[in-house]
Symmetry: C2
Amino acid sequence: MAKRVTINDVATAAGVSRQTVTRAHNDMGDISEATKRRVLEVSAQLGYRPNRFARNLVGRQRLRAVGLLVGSFSNPYFTEMAGAFLAAAAKRGWQVMMASGESGSETAAVEMLARHVDLFVGHFSLSAEELTEAVQGIPVVLLDDRCSRPGFHSVEIDLRAGIRQAMAALEAKGVRRMGMIDSSYSLRASPTYSPSPRRRFFEEFALEVPEPAIVVGEESMAGGGHAFRALMAEYPDVDGVLVFNDMMAIGAVQAAQALGVEIPGQVRILGVDGLTLGEAVRPTVSTISLDREALVASALDIADALAASNFTNTESLHRTVMPRLLWRESA
Amino acid sequence: MAKRVTINDVATAAGVSRQTVTRAHNDMGDISEATKRRVLEVSAQLGYRPNRFARNLVGRQRLRAVGLLVGSFSNPYFTEMAGAFLAAAAKRGWQVMMASGESGSETAAVEMLARHVDLFVGHFSLSAEELTEAVQGIPVVLLDDRCSRPGFHSVEIDLRAGIRQAMAALEAKGVRRMGMIDSSYSLRASPTYSPSPRRRFFEEFALEVPEPAIVVGEESMAGGGHAFRALMAEYPDVDGVLVFNDMMAIGAVQAAQALGVEIPGQVRILGVDGLTLGEAVRPTVSTISLDREALVASALDIADALAASNFTNTESLHRTVMPRLLWRESA
DNA sequence: CTGTTAGCGCTTTCAT
DNA sequence: ATGAAAGCGCTAACAG
């Protein structure tokens, strides 16, 4: 493996000083067209490229990089979030390095990124202790989660308010018996079963009923479809369904069509996430939209605030974003 | 904006040498537990975090970063590609910095990334000249495209072979009259109309017919649906359809169901891309799969080869990956 | 165990 | 228009 070409090699080869090489490469003026062209030519011949670390080390204008941890690239919610984040970050002058929790060890990914970013943002599956260890002192902005340790900041989504509003609106639309399709994930995730927050809020705000009409399914379109069939079979009187997320809700709507159940005529179906995809299907899927624009904007507000103090800020910063009800066709 | 805390500040405050501070922070041994703890404490108090550029400048173990340019985060093909790339890159020890063409100026994004990566990979919409300018000498691996300039490498997908095979297979399955739904994008993209490669290959291999049964639509589920209706109205004898991509194919399948057209009984529908989403719908969508695993693996093979020569390699490297026919239910 | 000495590769002064 | 000097902040190598 050939040793890397440095500015000195170019300077020597071109018979000029290092500074002249710098001038040529950075359009700095104070250099004749002739020498500039000659230096650039020699550079190209030698295959010289400035070392990015040396360059940034000495440059006064420190740039800021954020490590974005994306939950999963196979869930549109996360990819839409990532896309929104990338766009907003670029506008604010942040570099983004991404990693995904699903690609191997999250710990390894975070530890590696820790050497190259000023800040972490994202959805982490590590425990607070593991995460604290892995980030090596670099501040973290948790998305849709909360941790009060020093160095941890967060943007939360007030899903409780969203579900409360949704339940009230559905009631006003004439729904008499609410059902819910929950994710089966929380069952697998922890040894001791703990209901998802969505389920807790549903139970808190659903109309009074003899027994809660809840079934669980996998977090996919197919899972949503199966769950909808199960729900209809077990609780035929249900005329409104809150679904864990939009992918499952799309599956439920499809299953309803196959079953000959009219949507929203006989049953109103409401998802959670606000996926663009929900607009592409017929009928379009109504949803409690977790506003990704607002989410990433809040995260970057925190990022800017931290950067302003050179990341020496000690107090935890928190934001809350409100979900928006997106009434499309299915509810 | 407070000046950033450096290793010297910590050393002074803790009453030790810089080297001892380094030892404490990097678990290097040769340091007593007591001093280590004390140094770490002082560091935390001062809010010290090692400068990542200085660290990487001096570290012998140069790490490699690749800039991934993702076409669009609203197209599952690209996000699945990005996910696969992230996973593969992590395994091979590459850092990934991402940008998206849709987020503002592609030129600006590339120029900014150029200061921080050793290599570019991705789908670019810039012209060869603009791109050459923007990357500032950093090598580029083009995905699904080709450019023979020095410093440009590529991974191509042999779509022609894929479409040839698909046409033959469809014929063997009894299809008599092939139709195609093309993207309307190429019409908008260039002032002078040029058919998409998919269309050219379709026309090359479709069964002999009096006139080509081709309609165009937007690159979305809805666009695919509309196009399918138009196709059926104009060419009622068509019993096999090649669709520009899977999102459109899914829309076409849905439209067929609404129309009461049996899939694949009356009409066989075949998409392009190999989206996972095509497996989640009913009927599942058959497709010419553009193998993302193979695509990113080839790109990273090239990346490794370039890295091995410290990116001084001059000859253009090229790979070709073959599409795979994924027979699911719709064809 | 701890400190000293070099030097990574580049850009910024400031001379000439 | 060009060159010389002086560091950026950190870690490797060697002292003690």
